[in-house]
Symmetry: C2
Subunit: 370 residues, 2 copies
Amino acid sequence: MKFSCEKALLQSAIAVTARAVSPKSSIPALEGILLEAGTDLRLTGYNLETGIRTVVPAQIDQEGSLVLSARLFGEIIRKLPDDIVSFQADGYMVNITCGMSQFNILATDPEDFPELPTVEDKNGFTIPRGKLGSMIRQTIFAVSDNESRPIHTGSLFEIDDTGLTVVSVDGYRLALRHEPITERDGALSFSFVVPGSALSEVEKICGDGEEEATVTQGERHVMFRVGDTMLVSRRLEGEFLAYRQAIPRNNGIKVEGDTRALLTSIDRVSLIISDKLKSPLRCVFDDNVLKITTKTGIGDASDQCPISGDGGGLEIGFNNRYLMDALKAAPADRVRLELSSGVAPCVILPAEGEENFLYMVLPVRLKAGE
Amino acid sequence: MKFSCEKALLQSAIAVTARAVSPKSSIPALEGILLEAGTDLRLTGYNLETGIRTVVPAQIDQEGSLVLSARLFGEIIRKLPDDIVSFQADGYMVNITCGMSQFNILATDPEDFPELPTVEDKNGFTIPRGKLGSMIRQTIFAVSDNESRPIHTGSLFEIDDTGLTVVSVDGYRLALRHEPITERDGALSFSFVVPGSALSEVEKICGDGEEEATVTQGERHVMFRVGDTMLVSRRLEGEFLAYRQAIPRNNGIKVEGDTRALLTSIDRVSLIISDKLKSPLRCVFDDNVLKITTKTGIGDASDQCPISGDGGGLEIGFNNRYLMDALKAAPADRVRLELSSGVAPCVILPAEGEENFLYMVLPVRLKAGE
């Protein structure tokens, strides 16, 4: 195995594939990146849950494959001068040369590296990479970390003629984003659930930009393709919450507020709440003002945030984290809050324009004196 | 106790004094900041080792003093809107109001707060604050963390008619910075040792700038005054290394190199060295080139760095960290390395101009095959 390539290109390919490498594994090959020099140079990381493969432009002088420790390989390449890196393997001993710098390190047998699942082309769609990334980013926080309902440790991807809907839920809140897609392939409508851990890597690979990303649904896996990089993840099996029925849409109270101002007020009052001293926020929706108070062993705090509309004095309790997560994610300067009573969920929507996001937060029972 | 002041000024005063507050203490008052409203508003943090006091412009309506948790007080003020903060204490209950935000928190008895030591004016000097800060920053890394020689857990401040010399040593290296001072008071020459922990706070308080900082040596303490802020630290007692005799100055080999290029080469080769797999750098000073190699269980690495001068093939081993710390700190683009043999220290000096810094690194014995 012998090849040479540009340091900067190799460095970014390692950074991408290393995301799917186990930091610590009983199988040493899983801590490594698979290098395959064939017609081109291919790098693969695979932790048995998520696999990432990318291609690097290289001059291949001799074909071959081997596995290198992702950490060490990444650090060596990162610290080399900005020049052409030459790579030559003699058995398992690998020589890396660049400028006046030279490294000799030991590789692992590529036979020990697990094979990446293949995803047969069944149903699929394309969407600009930046849009896919933001849809994931703005819903992933509501993915459950409770393994007792495994299906909810992922996000639902629902594709139909209106576009793509991404939904995350845990027992206390729901996050939903909707956008039109560029193209659809296969069935008229289909859906699948992708583990949150894989999605957080997809989000990073997406980055910004208008370039089309391709998503392909296989029997048991799903594949995301962005530029020269592809990510394969297993799908989660099970019945996802029938979320449409769970969202109340006939809410009598509708008020609007500045997203950042609401967030700042809640954040401020939350100072009095800690992991040890928990307490819900007591929110009172009055005429053109939202009053927020809370009280713990540390002391008490109150704040007021201007809103448009009259909440009629509705009093409702919330977990401060859940409200903040939703407001931080909401891609709008102004939001509409819909409520019906002190024991029904609060729905957060864009104040104007298309309804391309929806967050729902369940209330918390308020005790006297809180 | 009742006062009001600008949020931004109070926030930065808390940030400064909080540096001297114990993060965790069995005496609750030591986790707090002492607020004293008299003719002005004074904030004090004191962890019994280092004390920091600063003054905030405020309108005092009623005098008084109390202690507030540094963490909570700091967070509350930081998150308040940019406005006038009003502060009113009713017994130990403190009301903080700013705009539409209001907090009620509990204070601690100021009687429990330890008294800051007073530093009687004995000897002293002034020096621009930015210069004092950089002198500390460029020597503090060589302060020993070995408590068996307590005197070397601090830096020596030596003042004479040539200016200020700051020296740090552990058993393996030495760092020295020298600069002229603006003014000297008291004895013609004097010296004292300041704990490294206090100096790292002094360095942060100094920041940049030409404003004069005042340093006053007391019997058992030393005081640094920068603007409205003063820091008091105990002095370390004991006999500091007679460093002048320890530095070899008749070195036969003198070569020069680019500081950053040397650092990059060493950093690169150091990739092969880890906490678990230690090995010295094997440095060979040849004609206009420094060859650096090392070898561990991970593999081997080599690099070459251009130098000016002929090292005559001198081979010497170094701890990579110690060389890198010195080169990172050296305030010069080019350095001169002085050596005499493979078992004598390496001295690092500015390649040109005034000799305002000197680093010394002891060699490490090289074993065959390393």
